[in-house]
């Protein structure tokens, strides 16, 4: 059986990189991996959605609606959008960050509150805050990766640079 993860966020947040890191980490544990990326127009400030599947043998590169063991969101509005991918009762991991879409303004409280009340096991990770402490919001994906490593039981992928390693460790410590 493969573990199915849908990683989402907004173009420019490092969604593809986060998914690739999860892939590298699972590969280093000896798993087979498929990562389905989306390139081109969808990356221009829009919603970005990457599917990661790892296990002993993996065939299908994409996760169907209702088929994800984990939805990992770098942004809260995108967490709501990707909610449909979750298997009943499975796990949502969401970065505490809102990038307002054009049009309707939604408060962070409303978004995160609705997710927490949804009945799904939800982890809210203050990755953006930790990343800012480290000097740049660019590190939020590495903080999320650190948190996920604890949840998924995966090691730190080998390709991280020093700053991202620090972000990873800070993220791992957020998991309790």
């Amino acid at each position: 059986m493969a573990t199915s993860i849908v990683v989402v966020g907004v173009g420019g947040q490092g969604v593809l990189t986060l998914a690739r890191w999860i892939g590298e980490a699972s590969l280093s544990e000896g798993y087979d991996v498929r990562i389905a990326e989306v390139h081109g127009m969808s990356q221009r400030g829009g919603s970005v959605e990457v599917h990661v599947r790892f296990g002993k043998v993996v065939y299908a590169p994409i996760v169907e609606e209702g088929g994800a063991d984990y939805v990992v969101a770098l942004e809260a509005v995108e967490a709501v959008r990707a909610f449909k991918y979750l298997k009943p009762g499975e796990v949502l991991v969401v970065n505490k960050r809102v990038i307002q879409p054009p049009g309707r303004w939604i408060s962070e409280e409303e978004l995160l509150g609705s997710l927490q009340r949804s009945g799904v096991k939800t982890y809210i990770v203050p990755a953006a805050d930790v990343a800012r402490e480290l000097g740049s919001v660019l590190y939020e994906n590495a903080v999320m990766l650190g948190f996920l490593s604890q949840l998924l039981g995966l090691p730190m992928p080998p390709s991280l640079d020093d700053r991202n390693r620090e972000a990873f460790r800070r993220g791992a410590r957020l998991f309790v």
């Binding site: 127009m41 221009r44 400030g45 829009g46």
Partner: protein, 592 residues
């Protein structure tokens, strides 16, 4: 060496291991990374061509001369190259010639869904179809060998979920490039009718031989009376759907989906369920062999969009009359707000659209658009038609001659070289009144920033040579540019064409270069005392770094602002204040 490769990267490495000498492409999602990967290898001839036809011809010519060559494009790109494709089957080639076409089911980044395999059927070119990056790597090598053995072009058909899927691939080192030398053969390479008629007969005979060879690409797995014929990425969904349905079946996977092997009829005993991504191309061929199929033609599987494990399991259960209840996706706790793709913060197109709106005020122009980042002008109501590469000037000219409407044709520099120069010749020779705006950001930006010919061959050199009055603006100078564009508008109102070249490189490329150069970008902030909440910046300019705060005032997200300063140029109340200086940044940007 085991690498976590994208399907497209795997194709590139497979080509290198096959002794590739010449590779060409025009970038297009989902095919871009093939040549992007090859560009790094300087001992081969690798080229970003001005369009797919040019790319195809260069690689085809090299293969005619005996070199191993590859050309890559997206599905709609093969339409552009369709003319030489059909000739290539008649003449054949000497060196291995692989045409990679990447389809985009469900149009993640395309204007239509198309199944490249029909071109294989129509042009008599065999189609190999890998199911994942591992096979993509392997099949490129097979395609080169097959092409050289048959002396015939071979199409490698990919789809988004092969090209843009990453998987661990074992990679061999590159083989030395195989170059060639043209040998004269007038009857073979001159497609005048007398020669072409002979070649046509030979082609039809060759096609039957290829159909025999197609059997070499069959793999059979499993057992059972039920036969499932599948190909490409669909194979993966079949494998997982079978275990979900706890179904024993014989899975017949076709590595070559055009032409299908003639022996298939005997193999499947005259009856099969067909699972394939795209159109029912294999299914139609199987029916023509007399196999009773169940697949897309009867509605067991959808005729649009991508497959997945769920759709495949559902289709198989319906086709075979098996019980199956699909997973029920949970309902989101609130309705998610749409987040359509939008122009990046600092995108010069954003300012150009704003300038055009001011300069054409009162004319309610028809906005004749085109394929590229500026397609996103659709969010601004400034793209009324976008149908294909080159449609801006092509269709815009038609609208202009149809009646008295004022037409603005907006096109990027890469698309300009790709697809509008012949149309411009028609516009100039007939003096059709059209305002042509070339948004020259120096890159094919939508596909990740491949260089366009705009530096080597400035747009205005071409338009001026055609006798078209041409004005060059820098879109970050909003007020000055409006006055210049108004002059071009007056020319068009007097019944003649005019061109505006709006020149400033892609902000994404420029920001990357600035970061590398260690340059601190200026950032803009709103002085809430001055902001009246008029909304001009977030409603009309629509910079995606500027939000409407709940009190109606503007707010700049400091994590997104790249310091273009257009907001400050536009704001009537002087509410935007820079932190840091702008001059050095604008200069570096213009050189990016």
């Amino acid at each position: 060496m085991r690498l976590l490769l994208l399907g497209n990267e795997a194709i590139a490495y497979g080509a290198l291991a096959s002794g590739l000498a010449v590779a060409t492409a025009y970038p297009g999602t989902p095919s871009t990374e093939i040549v992007e990967t090859l560009v790094e290898f300087r001992d081969r001839f690798v080229h970003w061509a001005s369009n797919e036809k040019s790319a195809f011809e260069l690689a085809y010519g090299a293969a005619v001369a005996g070199a191993r060559s590859l050309t890559a494009m997206k599905h709609v790109g093969l339409n552009v190259a369709a003319d030489p494709l059909h000739s290539a089957a008649y003449t054949g080639v000497e060196g291995g010639f692989v045409i990679v076409a990447a389809d985009d089911p469900w149009m993640h980044s395309s204007q239509n869904e198309q199944d490249t395999r029909w071109y294989g059927v129509q042009a008599y070119v065999p189609v190999l179809e890998p199911s994942d990056p591992l096979e993509a790597y392997k099949y490129v090598k097979l395609a080169f060998d097959l092409s050289e053995k048959l002396r015939h072009p071979v199409i490698l058909r990919s789809v988004t979920r092969v090209s843009h899927v990453r998987a661990p691939v074992e990679v061999e080192p590159p083989a030395p490039p195989k170059w060639g030398r043209f040998t004269r053969d007038v009857k073979r390479f001159n497609l005048v009718p007398a020669n072409a008629r002979e070649l046509r007969k030979a082609l039809v005979e060759k096609w039957e031989k290829i159909a025999e060879l197609s059997a070499d690409f069959i793999t059979v797995e499993g057992s059972g009376d039920v036969f499932i014929v599948t190909t490409g990425v669909a194979y993966n969904y079949v494998k997982e759907a079978l275990s979900r349905l706890r179904l024993d079946a014989t899975v017949v996977k076709l590595g070559m989906s055009v032409p299908v092997p003639r022996s298939l009829r005997n193999l499947v005993g005259g009856e099969a369920v067909v699972v394939e991504e795209g159109d029912p191309v294999v299914e139609v061929q199987l029916r023509s062999l007399g196999v009773a199929t169940r697949g897309k033609l009867d509605g067991y599987f959808p005729r649009y969009g991508e497959l997945d494990t769920g759709k495949t399991a559902l289709g198989l259960s319906k086709a075979l009359g098996l019980p199956y209840s699909p997973p029920q996706p949970p309902k989101p706790p609130i309705e998610p707000t749409p987040r359509p793709p939008s122009l990046c913060p600092g995108c010069p197109h954003m300012a150009t659209f704003y300038i055009l709106r001011l300069a054409t005020a009162g004319l309610s122009p028809v906005w004749s658009g085109d394929i590229g980042c500026y397609s996103l002008g659709i969010n601004l109501g400034q793209q009324d038609l976008i149908t294909h590469m080159g449609s801006s000037v092509g269709l815009g000219a038609g609208i202009a001659v149809a009646g008295k409407q004022f037409v603005v044709a907006t096109v990027g520099d890469s698309t300009f070289y790709h697809a509008v120069i012949p149309q411009l010749i028609d516009v100039a020779s007939k003096s059709i009144p059209l305002l042509i705006v070339v948004m020259d950001n120096a890159y094919t930006a939508m596909t990740g920033g491949q260089p366009s010919p705009s530096r080597a061959i400035p747009v205005e050199k071409i338009t001026e040579a055609l006798g078209l009055p041409t004005f060059v603006i820098d879109p970050v100078e909003v007020k000055k540019s409006v006055e210049v564009v108004k002059k071009a508008v007056e020319i068009v109102k007097s019944g003649r064409p005019a061109v505006v070249v709006s020149r400033r490189p892609c902000a994404l490329v420029a920001v990357r270069k600035a970061r590398r150069a260690g340059l601190q970008l200026p950032r803009y902030q709103v002085d809430p005392g001055r902001c009246t909440g008029c909304g001009l910046c977030y409603n009309l300019l629509r910079c995606s770094a500027i939000y409407r705060w709940p009190d109606g005032k503007a707010y700049v997200d400091p994590a997104l602002c790249v310091g273009c300063g257009v907001c400050a140029e536009v704001c009537p109340f002087n509410a935007f204040k820079p932190e840091g200086r702008r001059e050095a940044w604008l200069e570096l940007w213009q050189q990016a």
